[in-house]
Amino acid sequence: MTLFVWQDSPTEATLAESGRAYRELADVAQRRVVICAGTGCVAGGALAVYAEFVRAIEAAGIDVVTELKAETPPTSNSVHVSHSGCQGFCQMGPLATVLPDGILYTRVKPGDVAEIVETTLRTGETVERLLYLDKQTESRCRGVAEIPFYQAQQRFVLKECGIIDPDSLPEYLANDGYQAACRAYTSMSPEEVCREIERSGLRGRGGGGFPTGKKWDLTRIQLDGQKYVICNGDEGDPGAFMDRSVMEGNPHSVIEGILIASRAVGASEAYVYVRAEYPLAVKRVRKAVADAEAGGLLGDNLFGTGLSLRVTVMEGAGAFVCGEETALIASIEGKRGMPAPKPPYPAQSGLWGQPTVINNVETLASVPRVLRMGVDSFRAMGSRTSPGTKTFALTGHVVNTGLIEVAFGATLRDIVYGVGGGVTNDDGSGPAELKAVQIGGPSGGCLTVDHLDLPLDYDSLRGIGAMVGSGGLVVMNQNTCMVSMARFFMQFTQNESCGKCVLCREGTKQMLVLLDDIIAGKATPATLDLLDKLARTVQKGSLCGLGKSAPNPVILIARLFREEFLAHVVDKRCPAGRCKALVAPHVIADKCRGCGLCIKACPVGAVTGERREVHAIDENLCTRCGACAKACRLGAIEGV
């Protein structure tokens, strides 16, 4: 902690001075190796790669530094080895970046480390085989700047994520950290902070898109007394991991955002509610809070103003509905996480009945940056009504999966074909045809090829009945059955319904039964009408966002993929061939020995074939009685 130059309370000048001191120290070392330690890369063995780097560099007789300290400064021969949060390109992990050369090595195994040390760290040459191979041009990409996945992105919230060491406070300070919070406390009034954020046009990144500054102002104007700030890190949408990556990759930016929000509304206590499935994020945020407290950036007499802020990190216990504001509040209070009617809004009566502001992780991480860069520069990014950038988790049938960030107004084509590198088949080969992109989690909606050129922002998506949501983008190829997908989302929201509202609890269950009927081939056209009617009733009769939006995917998919639904209902056929009950009756050629037992068993003479030759079933004659399948000893008959 000797890098901190302040005595009692940090000021903007001393914070900047600390950052400068650290940067100077860091610049002495000849090189820096950054190993991605996001969840994805850790799963691929990144920690072993890190340990091997430390060992191999030492073994090569080069001074290795894992933590920069003023007492033991690095020399011009030293190599600084550190880990970072998610660099986004999870699929190619573990990732190792060598700076200042800017070389990105992909799929690094501990066995490759010695070669990197001997080649890159000694002579500055690159290890060609570990560079990313751009399949389109068949050329190796040396670094981030040459890789199409990164080229098409605009990294703002994720700028330092994947570079800085998330466990190091000095490193965050070296990137101008906590200066915006200091300014908010020392030279801005709460009202000015609210106005500034309102002017920036920053909107809630958790899905709703409510203007953040306005939300703060509604809490600020409440009578004095205990107020709370809650950071919502309960990212429950399946297929989304943006908040996790921000908490893991740059936890101090979230804490600085909490500080600024607390200044704006006048809160002295804050909670970070993190999903229990994210143990690494919990660990990193806890460490960041402890370090900030030790450095005098949290606690009492903040920046010498006499104000205080305590931050508590709470782990969720696995309930999707807790992403909803009022349910999240109930959960922090130790109760079942059930939503409450609004009004009163949390701004008036939230945690323990006190005024409370709840912001999403990405929103809070954006706040210090907005103040740092200035409102006008921020507004220059993105679209007119949705300034700034949005992180998305790009997954599914796409060449490049991972964490991405683009400016609002980017089109789906930019994302899927630019950043994502195109659509793949189930086995990862490509190219394949795009069928749909699921956006905004199980309560969002589907986009199709017709929407490829739609600029994505809060309002354009709302216009077509979808929403940005938290930012999960799941790409689906032509082999995906959309009816099954609608059922999948319904199953999810059904499981997660808290049970308070009858229509959400029972209605979603009945919708699931109807969808099951369609998939099992038992539906009639009346089923579709009933499904639609029920969906709209559930929307109207539910209290919170979960119930209100649970029918969205079904309504949207049924509209966009009407023909596919009708194929299931009228023709009893699954065009994608996924619904087992609707697979046309057929003989599996590999298994059939041509014994003739099925021919004898069939009561309508639908099976034909020569002895010892593969048999065939006439789809039009077959009544699906199942007699042939029962008679077959080899399990060679499907779809009856």
Binding site: P238, G239, F241, E315, K335, A393, Q438, F488
Partner: protein, 171 residues
Amino acid sequence: MLPESPVSEPGLPGRQFQKVCEILALHQHQSSRLIPILQAVQEEYRYLPEEVMTYVATSLRIPPAEVYGVATFYAHFALAPKGKHVLRLCDGTACHVKQSIPILEALRAKLKVSELKPTTQDLMFTVETVSCLGACGLAPVLLVNDQVYGQITPQRACTLVDEIVAEEQVQ
């Protein structure tokens, strides 16, 4: 009134209640800390035994029904013992479209467990699904205890089980 000194029951020796007392003391017997308390208790027992829940309720001076209500609301709390090795298959959207269900079916068939009976008879394995592990870039994902395995196939999942069984036998 706070409960008497730890009670000793068959199968639940007093020593274990001692641990519950420590957890309760750490959270200053505050009922608002019920969720972190139950999380800590579960860490200790691998599930929430009914006796312990009643004990917690009495200590926090809230009705046992309230503790039970919270314990059954959140997916992370288990009311029945789980296996020594917990296999959590991610069935989030990304894993689902990348065919996570055949992996689930393969694991269930191999370990002879089902949705209703997720734990093997010998209490060695539990097979569960989770809605998303947030490792979508590696879909489909399987979590074996706390270790994440990405881009998994039904064969690979079964091999992992075999490896655990082999390790257990060595021990």
